[in-house]
């Protein structure tokens, strides 16, 4: 494949926290529209990797190219963040703003949309995540599942090319997990490029084009979900899968 058919190109990425080597020579190419699920034990570097993609963490060596732009200076970081949305485990909604204000803040302040345009757009995406009726409430008045769907809508309001999800359902009560996953599957079916860190293997089978298994800061195994789940090659991956599928 030609290099420019990838929307994300990561080469020999290394990240240290002090003397701790959190990411070791990571190579990863993501094609436009590709849906990737990353899994692996706690501390294996999953969050660190996707946080490097929108520069919430600075990498120490290697190159990251997103949408044809190499992450080298703050101008590039700004441009890249405009193309990359992110959803956090803890939602990170702005508690002092209403749901609607949470959604319009970025479009109005960072993109210069008028209030009317921004609110229009916000309502479109709130409908998309199926909670248009909550627009005037504060985040604390919503359930966890609803809050996470708002967080997804807030990212979508910036109309990103790529969405990153860092364990979007790990902080949710079990009965709310599926309402959030359904929204993400919807997005996937619409062709959104996404990288999702999750241990929801049912979701991974449904939505992923490719699985990535990480351990100790390395990509250990990667492949399409069927192969990955039914015939994992490495021992570490086998062990990991047997552990999480038990529960």
């Amino acid at each position: 494949m030609k290099n420019d058919s990838f929307v994300i190109t990561i080469k020999k990425l290394n990240k240290w926290y002090g003397s701790f080597h959190a990411l070791k020579d990571i190579d990863l190419n993501v094609a436009l529209g590709e849906r990737i699920v990353i899994c692996g034990p706690s501390g294996s570097g999953k969050s660190t990797l996707i946080r490097c993609i929108n520069s919430l963490e600075q990498h120490n060596s290697g190159t990251i190219v997103v949408d044809g732009r190499e992450m080298i200076d703050s101008k590039a970081v700004h441009a890249i963040r405009a193309e990359v949305g992110m959803v956090f485990q803890q939602f990170n909604l702005f508690p002092h703003l209403t749901i609607l204000q949470n959604l319009t803040l970025g479009p109005m302040k960072a993109r210069g949309l008028s209030r009317a345009e921004a609110e229009d757009r916000a309502m479109t995406y709130l409908e998309r995540v199926r909670i248009p009726d909550q627009a005037q409430k504060k985040p604390a008045a919503l359930s966890g599942g609803q809050q996470q769907r708002v967080a997804i809508a807030r990212s979508l309001c910036m109309e990103p090319k790529i969405m990153l999800f860092d364990e979007p359902t790990s902080a949710l009560d079990p009965e709310m997990i599926s309402e959030v996953l359904d929204v993400i599957v919807d997005l996937a079916e619409d062709g959104m490029t996404m990288i999702c860190v999750t241990h929801e293997m049912g979701f991974a089978r449904r939505a992923a084009d490719r699985m990535i298994f990480m351990d100790y800061g390395e990509v250990i195994e990667t492949g399409p979900p069927n192969e990955f789940f039914d015939a994992p090659k490495s021992e570490r991956c086998k062990l990991f899968l047997s552990q999480i599928l038990q529960h």
């Binding site: 405009a82 702005f94 508690p95 302040k109 960072a110 967080a151 807030r154 910036m158």
Partner: protein, 254 residues
């Protein structure tokens, strides 16, 4: 309940004073006599200067504190260094020596630089109070801002906000609820510390009491009134601080 205790104690003091004619001489501030009225008026009219000093110093300190606190939280350590040094340095200097330095020393430095500014007692006291308090306000801002979850800043970054926008729309509106009550509380310290301005000749509450003591030889009664003057001032401020705390402390997400 605080108020009750204070009233009780003052009642005991007054009664014991009025009963035995030996130790107390309330005539000096007896509102029923002309001299007493005059003296009371002289003492109480120091309120205006004390309040002026405190309010202006607190205002400057609030602005100075923010200017110091923001770069003090930079991820760049060279940006962070000067504000940190300022805070440590200013915090270490006792108020009275700083006041002497500003009042007697600073004009000399300014003059040698060719700047002919006369620092009077009023502005000398304000500069000193504001600078020495700014180290504490800066720390109040810092802890208030840093108490806001890091995820808020990260979320703001991912929706494209820059540093200024993140502070203005996301962090400060949340932090202000945690900053205002301790900031208002800090105002009480300024009010009390403003008494030091008396030593450089500022005609505020304490100075006036001192001057009256020199002419009337009634330190006990006059200083008792002085203490009550500060007490009233501080109680009024605390009352506002409390109601502010109640307002701010109410559910942060509402």
């Amino acid at each position: 309940m605080n108020l009750k205790i204070i009233v009780a104690i003052s009642a005991v003091l007054l009664l014991s004073g009025c009963g035995s004619s030996g130790a107390w001489g309330w005539y000096v501030i007896d509102p029923r006599t002309a001299t007493g009225q005059e003296n009371i008026y002289f003492l109480v009219s120091g309120f205006w200067a004390t309040i002026q000093l405190s309010v202006i110093a607190a205002f400057i300190s609030m602005i100075l504190g923010l200017v110091i606190a923001l770069p003090g939280m930079s991820s760049n350590r060279w940006v962070r260094l000067p504000p940190r040094v300022y805070v440590e340095f200013v915090r270490a200097i006792p108020l009275l020596p700083m006041l002497f330095w500003v009042f007697y020393g600073l004009p000399v430095i300014l003059q040698s630089l060719g700047i002919n500014i006369n620092i009077d007692a009023f502005w000398g006291a304000i500069i000193t109070l504001a600078v020495s308090d700014s180290a504490f306000t800066a720390e109040i801002y810092r802890s208030g801002i840093q108490s806001i979850n890091k995820g808020q800043t990260e979320a703001a970054k991912t929706i494209g906000l820059n540093y200024r926008q993140t502070m203005r729309y996301v962090i400060l509106p949340q932090a202000i609820r945690r900053i205002l009550p301790p900031l208002a509380n800090q105002f009480i310290y300024i009010v009390k510390m403003s008494a030091f301005a008396s030593v450089i000749g500022m005609q505020e509450l304490t100075r006036r009491a001192n001057e009256l003591v020199v002419t009337e030889y009634r330190p006990l009664e006059i200083y008792t009134l002085l203490v009550f003057e500060y007490l009233v001032l501080v109680l009024v401020i605390s009352f506002f601080v409390r109601s502010l705390e109640r307002k701010m402390g109410s559910d942060e997400s509402r």
